[in-house]
């Protein structure tokens, strides 16, 4: 039997997830641009668009439940629906972090710029690249690529530590910068968390492909 009813629904579910992924990725990039280019209008746009992402999440939730209830998927089909249902809230949370970065931009853009945000931009680019490749690996069901992406999170973690130390030094040296530096610290933390979330997505990619739960396991 070549055409199963469930195939159309799984294709649609995949499309919905990828659309959410793309929108989330764009939210992150725009949030960072709103900070580095000091564009508060763009920051507001990111915050407004978050509602669309929330709706997308609900739509995927409903559709996943519908497929589980009506199609009763098994084996790979089941793993696919479960993976989508678990990746969806992760993407939504990444978008929430993008929103928080946009909120920080709204505050920081009204203050004199503390420093060039080179490290933060690099961190965010790494995180966005990780997210993009993780979604590609999901589509291709590529467990090898997913494991590779998981390793990249270490680069973000290292960068975060560097930014953290640097910002603390700035605060100590010039206490009047504390408020701005604290906001930047939060931004760095948001990006660092996004790296962790992308890792979670990659672990689900491995589950989809291999039916193996690698979360909380050292060897991966």
């Amino acid at each position: 039997m070549d055409h199963r009813i469930i195939d159309q629904q799984l294709d649609l579910l995949r499309d919905k997830l990828l659309l959410l992924g793309g929108t989330t990725e764009a939210a992150l990039q725009r949030a960072m641009r709103s900070l580095t280019e000091r564009d508060s209008k763009l920051a507001k746009q990111v915050l407004d668009d978050d509602k669309i992402i929330d709706q997308m999440e609900l739509d995927i939730d409903r559709f996943s439940v519908e497929i589980l209830a009506l199609q009763q998927p098994a084996a790979h089909d089941l793993r696919f629906v479960i993976s989508v249902a678990k990746i969806t809230p992760i993407l939504e949370r990444i978008a929430d972090h993008a929103g928080s970065i946009a909120k920080a931009a709204l505050i920081l853009n009204d203050e004199p710029q503390l420093k060039k945000y080179v490290d933060l931009s690099m961190m965010a680019e790494n995180a966005a690249e990780m997210l993009r490749t993780a979604l590609d690996a999901f589509t291709a069901e590529d467990a090898t690529a997913s494991r590779r992406i998981i390793e990249q999170d270490k680069v973000i973690d290292k960068c975060y530590k560097r930014v953290f130390d640097e910002l603390i030094t700035i605060m100590i040296e010039n206490p009047s910068t504390t408020a701005s530096a604290a906001h930047l610290l939060f931004v760095a933390k948001h990006i660092e968390r996004i790296g962790d979330y992308v890792k979670d997505i990659c672990e689900l990619n491995v589950y989809l492909r291999e039916a193996a739960f690698i979360k909380h396991s050292k060897g991966k």
Partner: protein, 251 residues
């Protein structure tokens, strides 16, 4: 521990081979489900386990089937006592044209299992209790079994099988003719009976296999393709053929 052990079993209807080199161990007090498309040999295989196929003149069996280590195809096997030990429940309930009580008492009587009338009554009640039917029929034990609903008749047949103290129960699509609520009762019963009996269940209902069985065996064209814990079978089967079947890619 293996209750039933099958090795290199081949089965023929005349010249047509229906089962090819089946080897499988069925463990004591497990529920094992046999799934596969129509005509794949799962019911034929089920019926080799208590020699029900003996009644087909052109049937021929090769290979070894042992229950508790004893080859059931040895010439000196007492087939009647084998079938008492390995009871069977069929797709369509088939109560005798007798009262509810007599349906259950029949096997006990002909096998001479009971000591006296009181013992007979007790055994009938216990079998009806164990098949989750007693509460529904206790006030009309002497009325015809045909007055029961389809689901109740099927549970009566299970009670009839239990009454003669079997060790293994073979079920050939026991719920396929029942509505969802009667099916649920049968499934709950299967899970309950597992505590005392080894249960082999043939089903076309994949979700039923998933719900009630500890292990699932998938048959195709007379061959055993895969047997694995049910949880693995339905989330990550070893064989692509199994995956294609349980996900409805063919059937």
């Amino acid at each position: 521990m293996s209750k039933i052990s099958v090795s290199d079993l081949n089965f023929f209807y005349g010249k047509a081979q229906a089962l090819h080199d089946i080897s499988i161990d069925i463990l004591e007090r497990e529920v094992i489900a046999f799934i596969g498309p129509s005509g794949c040999g799962k019911s034929t295989f089920l019926r080799t386990l208590n020699r029900m196929n003996d009644t087909i003149p052109i049937a021929r069996v090769e290979g070894l089937v042992t229950i508790d280590g004893k080859n059931i195809y040895e010439p000196n096997t007492d087939v009647v006592s084998l079938r008492r030990k390995v009871g069977m429940v069929f797709q369509k309930s088939n109560p005798f044209p007798k009262s509810i009580f007599e349906n259950v008492a029949y096997g006990i009587r002909i096998n001479g299992i009971h000591k006296n009338k009181a013992d007979l009554n007790e055994r009938v009640e216990r079998a009806l209790h164990d098949s989750a039917l007693l509460e529904e029929v206790k006030d009309r034990m002497n009325t015809s079994a045909f007055g029961l609903s389809g689901g109740q008749q099927q549970r009566l047949c299970i009670a009839r099988a239990l009454a003669v103290q079997p060790e293994v129960i073979l079920m050939d699509e026991p719920a396929s003719a029942l509505d969802p609520s009667a099916t649920q009762k049968i499934e709950e019963l299967v899970v309950e009976l597992k505590k005392q009996y080894t249960i082999v269940i043939v089903t076309h209902n994949m979700q039923q296999a998933a719900r009630v069985s500890d292990r699932t065996a998938f048959f195709m064209l007379g061959k055993l393709v895969e047997v694995n814990p049910t949880q693995k079978m339905f989330t990550n089967p070893d064989e692509k053929l199994t995956e294609d079947y349980i996900t409805g890619r063919f059937g």
